[in-house]
């Protein structure tokens, strides 16, 4: 009885978590949010669906091309819309809010014009299928959850490398990291590319469940931000937990309460959580005691 609620929550939660993680990846070294992130996810889904549908390339090749293109756009976003603002004296304030939002609108408008409003089907990677199996779970759903956990695990390993720790060092003390020869601009650029990879994967993985459509970006961006905030900015494991938590709450609300309240309930839950734990589920408080 409750199994399907759980399955639904795990499926949607994995995607939310992945979007949240891609938000996190950028926040760490730059203290900025890329408001175009949702539309990068959307573009990932649509591009992959279009390559598969029009060019009939093998699934994994199409996914690979998509990842390269999306991370390229993320790189360009940093180059054009973020780096020039952050390099202004005083860090440029919050100009990146407007500039990344503009990139997002640009992407959405362009996709709307070129591809149109119709959703497309994005098949799951072979040999997986979205057909429900014996337990009411499809092979794709199982692989999706495992894949998301694997992606986050890979990121965690990266953040243990010297480069990864240098990125965390920038987040903690920008001046000190400069004095150790760490180049924040270069690592920010790397982080944008990395978050583009995660966003593209999020889109490609969301496609078989949510379809590839222009509308995908906005809703996933909100859920992704919720997951990032609730999980604790900086903690990818926390974001996964929060993603599942939000999706589970959505599913239970839809079942038990009036479905119209789904968004409000998860939003209020995240707010309450942040009131009690401002650092999020697994975020660390700053140990800045001198």
């Amino acid at each position: 009885m409750y199994l399907d609620v759980l399955v639904q929550a795990l499926t949607a939660g994995s995607i939310y978590a992945l979007v949240g993680v891609s938000v996190n990846v950028i926040y760490r070294p730059t203290n900025t949010f890329n408001l175009a992130q949702g539309n990068l996810v959307m573009l990932g889904a649509i591009l992959c669906a279009t390559i598969l549908g029009q060019l009939k390339l093998p699934w994994y090749l199409a996914a690979g091309i998509t990842v390269v293109v999306i991370s390229g756009i993320a790189w360009l976003t940093h180059l054009v819309a973020v780096a020039p603002i952050l390099s202004r004296p005083g860090g440029g304030g919050h100009g990146w809010l407007v500039s990344t939002l503009a990139v997002g609108i640009l992407i959405e408008d362009a996709v709307g014009k070129i591809v149109g409003p119709d959703p497309q089907r994005l098949p799951p990677p072979p040999p997986l299928s979205t057909e429900l199996g014996a337990l009411g779970v499809s092979s794709y759903q199982v692989a999706l959850v495992a894949g998301v956990v694997a992606i986050v695990a890979a990121l965690e390993i990266f953040y243990r490398s010297r480069t990864g720790r240098a990125i965390l060092a920038i987040a903690e003390d920008r001046d000190a990291s400069l004095l150790w020869g760490i180049d924040p601009t270069r690592l920010a650029r790397m982080s944008f590319v990395l978050s583009g990879v995660v966003a593209a994967l999020a889109g490609i993985l969301a496609g078989p469940v949510f379809y590839a459509s222009v509308g995908l970006g906005g809703s996933l961006l909100i859920k992704g931000f919720e997951a990032a905030a609730a999980g604790g900015i900086g903690s990818n494991r926390g974001v996964i937990l929060a993603g599942f938590f939000i999706a589970l709450l959505d599913a239970i609300t839809a079942r038990a309460l009036a479905p119209g309240y789904q968004d409000a309930v998860s939003f209020v839950a995240v707010l309450l959580l942040l009131l009690v734990r401002p650092q999020g589920l697994m975020g660390r408080t700053n140990l800045r005691t001198v």
Partner: protein, 406 residues
């Protein structure tokens, strides 16, 4: 911010340049000189913004009407020219858009699209006495007392809701129906009309009513609730193709395929890419009778011609039936008829002629207006058509096979 402003005005400038009117202030052109030669129609259509790609193609029928009218000598011998204004599909942009049209001396307006947009626009066109026809199906927009200058040439959402209920109750003889509707004004209006009509016809309430949020990411739980409630037929009021795809796939997954009736957007071709054809065999959309055929009855010649022209429009690909249900084609021909009957382009005279329209044969049906009602379409023109018939060779473009017994 300054850059933004200059960007917009540059765009506007380009558009005026494209209209060949770069060097003269608009009011001057409209009142003098050219005004004697052309018939100017305001064309409120989003060309930018997130909804532009969904809304802009819906004006294709109107553009065809203008080409036809101009080829046949125009209105009162004047060439019909559109003055396009981009509203970005935003209700907030309507006041500025209407002001620009008013300043340009335009009295006849096509657009905008969407109920909130039309309502916002009506608040300004009504006091300005501009005759208007937008794409909106809320019933009160046909209320001529409230909106004396708005003419509704399409069915209302209530009529759509009733048609679906009537077919379930009277033709399919189903007593346990389920309702699956989105949590929007459209979902609520259509759902309420369905419930009212179904109660009237059968004395029954739906066995289950499922309302999902517009941001839902999975519809399987709602579909399961419908199945669990023992529903034998389902009426769906969903505006978003993604959700429609999710709902039908959930039914297919559960191997539960009851008859389903829903909105005209079920005819969009993209559904066939999202859902296996087997899951669409028993699915019907509410549609205009004139666009449907049966084994014995053909689609009227005029509709067939328009269907052929629409099928040739690139932007209309995949949504021919949806565009065919838009009012602009009929409205422009009605306007031509009214102006020519009044032998004047003065608003008061044209309004009088429009209010007197009775039994006008339009492509969407027989249109009747009066001084108190501008809801032009009657229930006899609303029917149901088979979604799967899109695969029938007789269904070129906008045409569909009428549902059995409808």
């Amino acid at each position: 911010m300054n850059d933004d402003h200059s960007g917009i005005s540059r765009r506007r400038l380009l558009r005026h340049a494209a209209a060949g009117s770069l060097l003269l202030p608009m009011p001057f052109i409209a009142r003098r000189g050219l005004a004697d030669e052309v018939f100017r129609v305001g064309w409120i259509r989003p060309t930018t913004g997130r909804l532009a790609s969904s809304f802009a193609p819906l004006y294709a029928g109107g553009l065809i009407a203008i080409d036809e009218i101009n080829a046949a000598g125009g209105i009162l011998g004047r060439k019909v020219v559109i003055q396009e204004e981009d509203d970005e599909a935003s209700p907030a942009k309507q006041p500025a858009v209407i002001k620009r049209l008013k300043d340009a001396g335009v009295s006849y307006v096509v657009g905008p699209t969407g109920s909130p947009q039309v309502l916002s626009s009506l608040a300004f066109t009504t006091p300005a006495q501009m005759i208007q026809c937008g794409i909106a199906n809320a019933a009160d927009q046909g209320d001529a007392v409230k909106y004396p200058y708005n003419y509704m040439c399409v069915w209302s959402t209530e009529q759509e809701g009733e048609a679906a209920a009537a077919y379930m109750a009277s033709q399919l003889k189903i007593r346990k129906i389920g309702l699956l509707q989105e949590s929007t004004a459209f979902g609520e209006q259509a759902g309420n009309a369905t419930r009212r009509k179904f109660k009237e016809l059968t004395g029954q309430d739906p066995a289950s009513v499922q309302v999902y949020p517009a941001t839902a990411t999975d519809l399987a739980p709602y579909v399961k609730n419908l199945q669990a409630a023992g529903c034998e037929g389902v009426i769906v009021w969903m505006a978003n193709t993604v959700h429609i795809g999710m709902a039908f796939n959930a039914m297919a997954q559960q191997k539960w395929l009851p008859p389903v009736i829903g909105h005209v957007n079920l005819f969009n071709d993209s559904l066939f890419d999202l859902v296996p054809l087997d899951a669409l065999k028993n699915v019907y959309g509410v549609y205009y009778r004139n666009w449907t055929y049966t084994d014995k009855e053909q689609v009227p010649q005029r509709n067939q011609e328009l269907a052929r022209k629409l099928a040739a429009v690139d932007q209309a690909k995949g949504i021919n039936a949806f565009i065919a249900g838009c009012p602009h084609y009929d409205f422009l021909y009605l306007l031509k008829a009214a102006v020519e009957q009044a032998k004047s382009t003065e608003v008061a005279a044209v309004k009088k002629a429009l209010d007197g329209v009775r039994g006008y044969k339009a492509v969407l049906g027989t249109i009747n207006f009066s001084e108190t009602s501008h809801a032009g379409i009657g229930m006899e023109d609303v029917t149901l058509a088979s979604v799967a018939s899109a695969k029938d060779p007789r269904s070129f473009g906008a045409l569909r096979e009428r549902a059995p017994g409808a």
